[in-house]
């Protein structure tokens, strides 16, 4: 039963990593604040079910919508200003920290003590959410939007000269990735049945980004597999106690040295997700 729980948590994490992969792996913008969108999804849905007994099937989309809307709040000013990728990562980092402070001080969210919600995320919800996310993301990245995102990642200037509105395309990418993170957050909150602002900080954002980089840029399956490993590995290594974190760090270092392109950089594991037109090796 414990293993099943760990696996389900890993699945929840996979959805968030999938979301960040759209933004970082395919559109080429780095983010150190995507945990904030997970947090918004978690709190928006959690507050709804906790305070107003809203049914889960309504609270879940509400969490996704809240994450999506908040992505516009941070995305419109920063992406319009055409902040370079690293500056954008810092801007969104600030957004994430500001959000944590808000969550800690609102009475609605029960402050830093955290919110105890009901355990509503059944395995069916989690697996269904993951399957839905995978299919929708695959379709989206296969569509003209995915092609535009990859063009922006490869060369923003040439993409603009090919008639792509950089601002709108990047904002759309951020929105989609935030909605997926919001879904992950809503499922997480109602799986753990307890959420705290400190769960959605820079540490969590970094872990999401590490999964995307280690899994491989421009890949769906790579980051998703790595997300599973990164969530379950610390649990499997629990017997090693204090050595868990060094082992995790060692794994990251080994990936950087032996597979700098990540597990599946610019490739996919199966034909299910393979984009024949994104084929290609690292030059």
């Amino acid at each position: 039963m414990y293993e099943v729980n760990v696996a389900l948590l890993a699945c929840v994490n996979m959805i968030a990593v999938l979301g960040l992969s759209v933004f970082t792996g395919f559109t080429g913008l780095f983010s150190l604040g995507h945990a904030a969108f997970v947090g918004i999804g978690a709190y928006a849905s959690g507050v709804l079910t906790y305070h107003w007994n809203v049914p889960f099937f309504v609270a879940l989309p509400a969490g996704m919508a809240a994450a999506g809307l908040s992505s516009l709040v941070i995305g419109i000013p920063t992406l319009r200003a055409r902040l370079r990728s690293d500056y954008f990562a810092i801007a969104i980092l600030g957004f994430g920290e500001a959000l944590r402070v808000c969550l800690e001080n609102l009475s609605l969210t029960n402050g830093a003590r955290g919110l105890s919600v009901d355990n509503l995320s059944s395995p069916a919800w989690i697996l269904g959410g993951l399957a839905f996310s995978l299919i929708v993301t695959r379709n989206f990245l296969k569509s003209r939007f995915g092609t535009m995102f990859v063009a922006i990642r490869e060369d923003p200037v040439a993409a603009e000269m090919a008639g792509i509105d950089l601002f709108r395309a990047r904002l759309l990418s951020l929105f989609v990735s935030a909605v997926l993170c919001g879904l992950s957050g809503a499922l997480l909150a109602h799986r753990l049945a307890f959420i705290q602002p400190v769960m959605f900080t820079l540490t969590q954002s970094t872990q999401l980004l590490a999964s995307v980089i280690a899994g491989g840029m421009g890949s769906i399956s790579g980051p998703v597999i790595v997300a599973f490993v990164f969530t379950s590995l610390p649990e499997m290594l629990r017997a090693l106690n204090m050595w868990r974190l060094p082992a995790y760090g060692l794994l990251l270092v080994l990936i950087m040295i032996y597979r700098p392109q990540g597990l599946l950089g610019y490739r996919e594991l199966t034909g299910l997700f393979r984009f024949d037109r994104f084929r290609g090796r690292i030059p």
């Binding site: 379709n139 003209r144 490869e154 000269m161 008639g163 084929r279 290609g280």
Partner: protein
Amino acid sequence: MMESIVPTPLLKVRDLSRSFGGIRAVDGLSFDAARGEITGLIGPNGAGKTTVFNLITGVCRPSAGSIRLNGTDLTGARPDRIVRAGVARTFQNIRLFGRMTCLQNVMVPLLARGACGPFIAFFRTPAVRGEEARARAEALRIMAETGVADDAERTASTLPYGRQRRLEIARALACFPPDISRSRLLLLDEPAAGMNDAETRELAATIVRVREIFDVTVLLIEHHIDLVMDVCSRIVVMERGALLAEGTPRDVRNDERVITAYLGRPRDARRQQKTQEPQKTREGGRSA
């Protein structure tokens, strides 16, 4: 100040200026590009030719002056709007989408102006598939006309240099929306750079053919002077950001200021000049 320099101008550039810090990269430049013709833009290195392209395509904003395409003011407009108005370009240092296939590279501009919204893209409806199939067919047609169809499935970054340049031309041609057939301006920034003579001749033939098939007006930056003389009907010569000379290839070839800018002055002529106009002697000795 100037009305039309050529009979039917598609592109009108007037008093265009752009400074970077204290350097006036483009300094009060005015010229026209005649509709349906190939106009050459030449000048010594650092004359500001690529900056002119960057100003026309909206990569950077002009400090002063105006750019009009077929009567529409494009001065300082957003790059993607300028593309929609009918301006497409290639780059001096190749800028392909390296990890995409060649076909994908050409499909990007076609898909960028697609009609399908994000929501239906999530569900891969028949409309999405149909739009993709049309873009694919159109891209293959353009690639066939520019001679890169054989490379359709290859990853763009693995192509040899010369064919990367051709692929850039194909991608630029894909940028033209179908409804603006009368105002298509193609900007080619040193398309023959790094090509040998045979490749350059082939490229010249491609440029001429592309102009006819796609009904485009071409503005061409090039250092291969033979290519420029062969394909251009008018030539604009720039030096230090300003217009030096303008006219037919024959006019320009015989223009003394142009010869001086490229080759410097003959020694005896320079001495002669020195006695006549002492203030102009500093121009001598500049090389192309």
